[in-house]
């Protein structure tokens, strides 16, 4: 099975071949590197940009205005913060012009912890991104969704923020991407750039298919009846594993992968919470003015009388950064044990 970086790469290849993507660009996105996480190796429309995040976002806006279809990369989400006003403008352009302009552009950026990236390579962006109206925001938790969400993002006529959980980029999937070969080694040989001199290298793309994950649709990744766990990105696999482990203890947890943060699949969440009466929201952004807080508020306002326990949020600690030492990172953002404990505790909580 492909890993997430390969899945993104294959989706981008499909998009430049079939969906009109004209430019995949950013710092070190083009040859020879093909992206710091290898997600853009071998793509014919990939090119290296100046080391200038504001220029990258501005370029994407301009290209989109002129009928091109850009996919711009900010190398790490930690470096996207100096572009916030441009992101706000990209998000408000359709609205501010009363529908006259629209910007079909994708911005992809790796987010979150998990690679011991220290203070400046571990930031999350979901809380900030969901604060910018006019963007669609997606975040995959596995390679197949990464592929399908990128296909949808490239078909959009509005700005799409594509958040890549960097801890998952090298993790192989459990489901096959339509068209990828059976053999992982063969896939690697076909589409991974070789070490050393790459000047003559050309990828051998598999015959990929137009598999799209619709924007705005979540997914139940584990059905359950006692407690609902809603997550996305890096913490989603932790929730799934916790739910599987807790089954042995008689806890039956339903796990939902949001996949899209805006516009999100409230109907799916609502249906599940009405059934279980308990909900835990899990993500790794800092917990104050966290997107999960919005979901908690909506849960309280709309589902109060269906609840058996207060809705809970498990998120990153509200500290200025994630420290490099293992002990510091583990203490700053939810780990497997934290997730398991939080589900266990909520499942048994009584008034």
């Amino acid at each position: 099975m492909a890993n997430m970086a390969q899945a993104v790469r294959m989706a981008l290849h499909y998009a430049e071949e079939h969906l009109g993507v004209t430019d995949i660009f950013g710092e070190d996105v083009g040859a020879p590197l093909g992206g710091v996480f290898t997600a853009t190796q071998g793509l014919k429309t990939a090119w290296n940009s100046p080391l200038d995040e504001r220029g990258i976002i501005g370029m994407a806006i301009g290209l989109a205005m002129a009928g091109s279809k850009p996919v711009a990369e900010i190398q790490f989400a930690d470096y996207i913060f100096n572009t916030i006003d441009l992101l706000k403008i990209a998000g408000n352009t359709c609205w501010a012009t009363n529908g006259d302009w629209n910007l079909p552009m994708v911005v992809k950026t790796p987010v979150g912890s998990g690679i011991r990236g220290s203070i400046y390579h571990s930031h999350s962006f979901d809380a900030t991104a969901t604060h910018i109206p006019g963007w669609k925001i997606v975040i995959p938790s596995n390679p197949l969704d990464a592929y399908g969400l990128m296909i949808s993002a490239c078909q959009e006529i509005n700005p799409v923020m594509y958040l890549e959980p960097k801890a998952l980029l090298r993790i192989k999937g459990e489901e096959r991407i339509p068209g990828e070969p059976e053999d992982d080694k063969l896939l690697s040989k076909m589409i991974d750039a070789p070490l050393g001199d790459r000047s003559q290298w050309k990828p051998q793309w598999p015959q990929l298919e137009a598999y799209a994950v619709p924007i705005g649709k979540g997914k139940v990744v584990r059905a359950g009846s006692q407690v609902t766990v809603v997550s996305y990105g890096r913490t989603l696999p932790l929730c799934k594993k916790a739910a599987d482990d807790l089954a042995a203890e008689g806890v039956d947890a339903e796990v939902i992968d949001m996949r899209t943060l805006w516009p999100y699949d409230w109907e799916l969440i609502k249906g599940s919470v009405e059934k279980t009466g308990r909900v835990l929201y899990v993500n790794e952004d800092t917990e104050v003015t966290n997107f999960g807080e919005h979901l908690v508020r909506r849960t309280v306002e709309e589902l109060f009388y269906k609840l058996m326990a207060p809705p809970r949020l498990l998120a990153g600690k509200f500290v200025p950064g994630i420290g490099l030492a293992d002990t510091l990172e583990m203490a700053s953002v939810p780990q497997q044990g934290d997730v398991t404990a939080a589900i266990r505790s909520l499942a048994s909580e009584q008034p």
Partner: protein, 335 residues
């Protein structure tokens, strides 16, 4: 560097056709009267805020006249700032749109009552939406220029802004992205230098002799010109545009202009009186050369004044956007 054009005020004849001179004058008057009407609307309480370009007509009218107007990469893109009404008039825009935006009525063609006066946007003519945060347009213009370079033809991207905004990093971004070796872009980078940044004199903040000099470090062709002279502006813009259209490379043009009503309504929007009025100077020349009489020019101005007063009265009666329209156009939908 091309030699600076000598401005001979004792010229025997004017170097442009009479028809063009009359047309430029007409548009300069039209734009000036429009701005004065917008200021008056603000002062009468028919708008919350005014910002615009009185004093930049001598440069902005020729810019509009020389633009290749249309939609898509075959035509010119304008990434403007909020002092560009004269360019819009020169492109043939109906002034009532600006009045509607001032009054923020539902029929405002640029933003449906959502944005300040002077914040034009018109996709049909490649007029990118103007924003209040300054200089961001300089980061975007290379994007349309790259699409145009690939598209072929002679369409160019034009970006305008003030001198104070060049302190922002986006100005540097524009220079870097426009001049990448082997990937130079067809972009006319314009700075209209009125020597002010809101209330702060430029010379207290900027050490460069000319802003245009900054282009030299990037091997971008540059020039600083007198933007208060419409004839000079026309000829210089024509030359710069021809270079960008043909060579598909950037040009940085700095035009010295006046700011006749201060920064905006935030600074009172009153006539300053101590800066050169490009329209008054041009009218003297036109009269001296027998192109137009004082009477003709006064009649023209009165006619525009009456027209726009009538338009403003009409706009005052138009409905505001309905409250529920805040939800419209957050996302574009496939037609």
């Amino acid at each position: 560097m091309p030699k600076p054009r000598l401005l001979n005020r004792d010229e025997d004849s004017l170097p442009l056709d009479r028809e063009l001179l009359v047309r430029m004058h007409d548009l300069m008057v039209k734009a000036r009267v429009l701005e004065e009407r917008l200021i008056q609307m603000y002062k009468q309480g028919h708008g919350y805020f005014w910002i615009g370009g009185p004093g930049e007509e001598a440069f902005n009218v020729p810019l509009g006249l020389l633009m290749k107007k249309g939609q898509g990469p075959a035509y010119d893109y304008l990434h403007a700032h909020y002092r560009q009404s004269a360019t819009m008039m020169a492109l043939g825009e109906d002034p009532i749109g600006a009045l509607r935006q001032m009054k923020n009525v539902a029929a405002d063609p640029y933003s449906g009552g959502r944005n300040f006066a002077g914040h034009f946007s018109k996709r049909e003519w490649n007029i990118a939406p103007v924003s209040s945060p300054i200089e961001v347009q300089y980061a975007m213009a290379p994007g349309t220029a790259l699409a145009q370079k690939r598209h072929g033809g002679d369409g160019i991207s034009i970006v305008t802004g003030g001198d104070a905004g060049t302190a922002e990093g986006d100005f540097a971004s524009c220079l870097v992205w426009s001049s990448r070796p082997g990937n130079e872009l067809p972009i006319l980078i314009i700075v209209t230098n009125n020597k002010w940044g809101i209330s702060t004199p430029g010379e207290t903040q900027h050490g460069e002799t000319h802003i245009a000099d900054r282009g030299k470090a990037f091997n971008i062709r540059t020039k600083t010109i007198d933007g208060n002279d419409p004839i000079n502006s026309y000829l210089e813009l024509k030359e710069a545009m021809e270079y960008v259209r043909k060579e598909r490379k950037p040009f940085l043009l700095e035009a010295m202009v006046s700011r006749l009503y201060g920064h905006s309504s935030a600074s009172g929007a009153n006539f300053v009186g101590n800066e050169q009025d490009c329209l008054a100077v041009f009218e003297e020349r036109l009269e001296k050369h027998g192109i137009l009489t004082r009477k003709e020019m006064d009649e023209l101005r009165n006619r525009y004044t009456e027209d726009m007063a009538a338009m403003a009265r009409q706009v005052r009666e138009e409905p505001l956007p309905a409250p529920e329209t805040i939800w419209n156009h957050i996302f574009a939908e496939r037609k």
